[in-house]
Subunit: 154 residues, 3 copies
Amino acid sequence: MVDLLSLMAFNAAYAEAIDSDALERWPRFFTEACHYRITHVENEREGLPAGIVWADTRAMLEDRVAALREANIYERQRYRHLLGVPVVASADAHGATARTPFIVARVMATGETEVFATGVYLDRFVKEGGELLLAERVAVCDSTVTDTLMALPL
Amino acid sequence: MVDLLSLMAFNAAYAEAIDSDALERWPRFFTEACHYRITHVENEREGLPAGIVWADTRAMLEDRVAALREANIYERQRYRHLLGVPVVASADAHGATARTPFIVARVMATGETEVFATGVYLDRFVKEGGELLLAERVAVCDSTVTDTLMALPL
Amino acid sequence: MVDLLSLMAFNAAYAEAIDSDALERWPRFFTEACHYRITHVENEREGLPAGIVWADTRAMLEDRVAALREANIYERQRYRHLLGVPVVASADAHGATARTPFIVARVMATGETEVFATGVYLDRFVKEGGELLLAERVAVCDSTVTDTLMALPL
């Protein structure tokens, strides 16, 4: 049975990989075939498939990391995710579905810090070889205004 | 015994009801006779009973939701609660008292996002028919400056 | 075995002591001989020992509280910590090492609220007489710009 604490521990490790600039670890939180998408609340409500970011394999996530490295995005700013407690919709021995709220702060080189994004993860977790992985994570942002820097993983 | 994890799961569901605009579910987190109040730290310290918002039945909470619907408040902005881990003051099989910190971000239609409110919930939980409910929630805001929009549930 | 939930409960009590202006309780979360430091991500990466704040005994932490009281810092502003779930690096019956993200909001007397600091705690916990205590907490801020008010405990 996938329990609440293991989902919380998973999410904590996920956020740390992004915030500590260990981006190369980020794709490994997903299954090989996966669904990762960043969208916003109005697109999601209207069922619009196109999001700000979209991937359906781990390899696509790896490509995105490579692109972020090329853009040197972490040279100019840092991020800090604070995640809430998941609301578990279903869970059994093989996986779970859950919704988890997030707030992400962005810290500029000048020290200026702001709330960069808020929203909720819509997640489907699976157990593969005893390991918990994301088969699906849709990050639904509360803001409908797209920041071009949103290419950063949420 | 009401344990820490069940309080955390309760609070996560509570916050989600507000942030996902499922406001009609919000009163159901309370007992029929309840005490809900939004106040700020100086009023609370001086024992001033009048808060920004005040209710002592679930029906009053339902009235508040109806008023918010009439004001179309969720058309113009969205909210995102991030809640901390409760500090449990007492707990037994029938209930618990706890204090839980919160940060609420507000997202305007323009995409502008700001920290809207911070503070702590002073809570008394009870078990009724096996279900955990709030007999009392006092949301003590850190800011003493009242925002008239604070009518939104915290 | 020191488990995740006990670390979360510890951190919640720690943050509450600071945010509820019960600063005198803050040093008691540490062992007598301890290491407490506030630094930022670049200093930490380059192994620079000097941080913004530094202490290696509980008595030094008590001195800091006395200094903060003299400066009346809590008359002018309030703080609110929101802590994430610890990423536990190691744990046994005697202690644990963990990393925990934080966001701290500052609320001015005018009501203005901003994200004051974000970062991660690098922690070493020990059990002493059955009680969990911090032998080491290094608060690594994401911003490299030092706010002189950072003298406040993180």
